[in-house]
């Protein structure tokens, strides 16, 4: 296919050609960035979390008498374990993705201030006895807490627990001690020290605090005897039972302490609620992308159709002097190919520019390079698809059209 005549013809219709190029470029730039954002959100929504998410239900208890918490928690747990289908039950101070953080600055070096760079903002899970079973924690190295650990764990007069043992998430262990094994190492905070006795598979934080997304697994577990800071009752059952267990547990706790407010939910709902903003952003971005591609495609269809109608006579002449239908088809396809090529070329530069701008003004990462060619190919294909109809109509123009004066 010779592109000389095509270029010559495009030069005659400079402005419409430029408009198609511009439209494709804009669509390509927006598409690349929108898809990149969707990808980021999807990664966030699907962050793995090494607890038994499907089987856990959570009841929060608020407004109870803090003085009586130590004696009421064992009574409450015993009643909850009596619910049909409950395999394990325990109390914690907060839960992953509950948006209720309990953050502390801990450091692998002794004597550093909370504001020091070597200390990390870590979420502290204070866990009552049996918490590992109720959550379904997966131990990688070392041991879980024993009865003695639980009996000795208390909350000091600050945020930090008074105990000397800690279990950390695997990612946190790697962040704190990149070279050495974590087991046996010590973490320091204020006047306390904690020795790592175990490493578990990564458990998420309650919310994005500290170092943002890369720090979502900066979590550590501490043993704790019953006390008023533990108000998240965690129950484990089969996934089929979880909704019923959550409702029944809410009733049970509400009846045991009529002055308190109990609220039960399955963990799946907690996770859904936490990511609902990201989820709706994904839908919005996807919707805009689809509609935008449709508008672009219809724009190409409309413009090419007019071109075809305008050139009926020329097409007729070409057919009369021996061009086949295939030639006419490939003429319009090649024309579109060239226009799209220019469009996506410009679009990729624009997409890169927009990404740079977003990186400066928003919490956004650099777009990996492969988004650009993928976006480009998508628009190229879209162009070919859009031009299919008009090109076929052009190819169907009979040679006799040449003899008609237009």
């Amino acid at each position: 296919m010779e592109i000389g005549p095509i270029l010559a013809s495009l030069r005659k219709h400079r402005i419409p050609a430029l408009l198609i190029v511009l439209e494709i470029a804009l669509a390509c730039a927006v598409l690349c960035n929108a898809v990149f954002m969707v990808g980021g959100r999807m990664n966030e929504i699907h962050l793995p979390n090494a607890i038994d998410e499907q089987g856990i239900s959570v009841v929060t208890l608020n407004g109870f008498d803090p003085e009586r918490a130590a004696s009421e928690i064992p009574r409450n747990l015993a009643a909850l374990r009596g619910i049909a289908g409950v395999q394990a039950a325990a109390v914690l101070n907060t839960m992953p993705l509950s948006d209720n953080g309990w953050n502390g600055n801990l450091s692998p070096k002794q004597g550093t201030e909370a504001t020091d760079h070597s200390s990390l903002n870590i979420n502290l899970y204070l866990m009552g006895e049996g918490g590992d079973k109720a959550l379904g924690l997966r131990l990688q190295q070392g041991r879980m807490f024993d009865g003695e650990d639980y009996a000795n764990g208390t909350l000091g007069d600050s945020f930090l627990p008074e105990t000397h043992v800690v279990i950390v998430s695997r990612s946190l262990a790697r962040r704190l001690w990149p070279q050495a094994p974590a087991l046996g190492q010590k973490l320091y905070g204020d006047k306390f020290w904690y020795q790592v006795v175990g490493v578990v598979d990564d458990v998420l934080r309650p919310n994005k605090a500290g170092s943002g997304l890369p720090g979502m697994y900066d979590t550590a577990f501490f043993p704790m005897r019953p006390g008023d800071t533990l108000n998240y009752y965690v129950l484990r059952s089969t996934p089929a039972d979880r909704e019923r267990v959550a409702r029944q547990a809410e009733d049970v706790l509400g009846k045991l302490d009529p002055g308190a407010v109990a609220e039960g939910k399955s963990f799946v709902d907690i996770r859904g609620k936490y990511f609902s903003g990201a989820q709706s952003m994904v839908w919005m971005l996807a919707l805009v992308c689809v509609v935008m591609l449709a508008v672009t495609a219809f724009g190409i269809v409309g413009l090419t159709s007019f071109w075809v109608a305008q050139r009926r006579r020329q097409i007729g002449i070409r057919r009369a002097v021996g061009a086949r239908r295939g030639h006419i088809l490939s003429y319009f396809r090649t024309e579109n190919f060239l226009l799209s090529g220019a469009g996506v070329g410009l679009g990729m530069v624009l997409a890169f520019g927009i990404n740079l701008y977003l990186m400066q003004h928003y919490e956004m990462d650099r777009m990996p390079w492969y988004y650009l060619p993928v976006g480009a190919i998508t628009l190229w294909l879209l162009g070919q698809l859009a031009v299919y109809g008009p090109a076929h109509r052009a190819a169907a123009v009979p040679p006799v059209e040449a003899t008609r004066s237009g």
Binding site: P16, I20, G299
Partner: protein, 432 residues
């Protein structure tokens, strides 16, 4: 003349029915997306206290330790500790000032069989409600004397009054908060500043407003805790009055620029004094106005701004699309233009004719876009975000929709109309 253009335009649009539909639809989609996101953006960046916000300022200081401090690279803290808050409040350096913190109180209904529930509770000093311009349905706020004595009095919101007292005048009756009795001294009318500027975590602060307002000392006496506490060293959060923790906001009313400058000097002086005493190590201060404070707190979520940007990009694509299609149409009609020009129509007349056509497309796009925007906002209202329920099209957005539609269509029409009016009549006539 205009009537004639209108007739010509309608006929031309009618002749290319599919193309016209395509143009109107594309424009309407772009406008619908833009208006939807603009409405949300306006809702989120709105002024919580119109008419008062320009006089309210938020003093900030930094009690953090010296470690890690690089002068000029550090920002003052968002909240104040009890000690600093009380010092600044009792200096009475502004015409009015109030401390405020947000907590959550257990409210126990008196009626038998009703379960207790939690409601947002604002603990504040006496000037807070008058400064915020809260309207009272019954009774009034509490006094500075109540602040000092720690009187157990409360002002309740209208929705709580309906829930607990069926909307009757409840002044003088008692409500039970966290297991303690409080005497109701006032019932508010509708009071729900959007956003709730006086609480941190602004993103989660849109909604019905707060349930109860209590004097700060009385609230602390029943151990009502603030939702947001930040400490600069390990501290006993059970005793927030002495702990190294920040949890209070101070709002001051400064009527003019001289008062603002005066308060700034006072604040710097206070910090210098504290540094001299060895309590403070960092000299940064700030005194943002209410709207500046909202901006530094990122009251508009990034996602919402990104969505608005995306919608404008989309509108740009739709406008480009419309330019292309209008242009194609007008080039097809070169002969018609040639005939009209030969019969004596001026360039201005041709230009006008094509602009009228573009305007019709714009208006149709606006009407349809309004429909799309309503659909979009309906979708937003069913989202889980806390501000979602407030997303509605008001009269000004209604007008903006048509302005945006018309302007984008006219911009889209400019190039085709110009191309049309420079068509030379002679070659067009010769051709046929």
């Amino acid at each position: 003349m205009f009537g004639y253009y209108l007739q010509l335009a309608l006929r031309s649009l009618g002749r290319h029915c599919v193309l016209t539909t395509l143009m109107v639809l594309a424009l309407a989609l772009g406008i619908g997306a833009c208006i939807t996101t603009l409405t949300v953006l306006r809702l989120l960046s709105g002024d919580p206290l119109p008419g008062r916000s320009t006089q309210l300022y938020y003093p900030q200081i930094d009690p953090y330790p010296k470690e890690g401090y690089v002068p000029g690279q550090s920002k003052p803290q968002e909240n104040l500790s009890w000690v600093d808050a009380m010092n600044l409040l009792q200096a009475h350096h502004a015409s009015r000032q109030a401390l405020v913190a947000l907590g959550s109180a257990k409210i126990e209904p008196r009626q038998a069989g009703r379960r207790p529930f939690f409601g947002d509770a604002v603990m504040a000093t006496a000037d807070f409600l008058p400064m915020a311009g809260a309207p009272f349905r019954y009774g009034s706020g509490w006094s500075a004397a109540d602040d000092a004595s720690g009187a157990r009095v409360a002002v309740i919101a209208d929705f709580l009054n309906r829930k607990l007292f069926d909307g009757a005048n409840s002044v003088g009756r008692t409500i039970r908060l966290n297991g303690h009795d409080f005497r109701v001294v006032g019932v508010l009318g509708h009071f729900s500043p959007q956003p709730r500027f006086y609480a941190l975590n602004l993103g989660r602060s849109y909604g019905d407003g707060d349930a109860v307002f209590l004097p700060l000392r009385a609230a602390r006496a029943i151990e009502l805790g603030p939702n947001s506490v930040g400490c600069w060293e390990a501290a006993d959060i059970g005793h927030l009055e002495t702990a190294a923790c920040m949890w209070l906001g101070l709002w001051v009313e400064l009527p003019d620029a001289a008062a603002v400058a005066g308060y700034r000097r006072f604040l710097d002086g206070y910090v210098r004094e504290q540094i001299a005493q060895g309590r403070f190590h960092r000299s940064d201060t700030a005194l943002p106005s209410l709207m500046e404070w909202l901006r530094t707190e990122h009251v508009v979520p990034d996602d919402v701004r990104l969505q608005a940007g995306l919608a404008f990009g989309f509108l740009l694509i739709c406008v480009t699309n419309t330019i292309g299609l209008l242009l194609a149409k007008c080039l097809r009609r070169s002969r018609e233009i040639g005939v009209r020009r030969a019969l004596g129509a001026t360039r201005t007349a041709i230009f006008g004719q094509f602009m009228v056509e573009a305007a019709i497309v714009g208006l149709a796009g606006g009407v349809l876009g309004l429909l799309f925007a309503e659909c979009g906002l309906w979708g937003i209202r069913h989202q889980p975000a806390e501000y979602a329920g407030l997303a509605r099209l008001d009269l000004s957005m209604f007008a903006i929709t048509f302005a945006v539609a018309l302007v984008s269509a006219l911009i889209a029409g400019l190039l085709p109309a110009w191309r049309a009016c420079v068509v030379a009549p002679a070659p067009q006539l010769k051709n046929s």
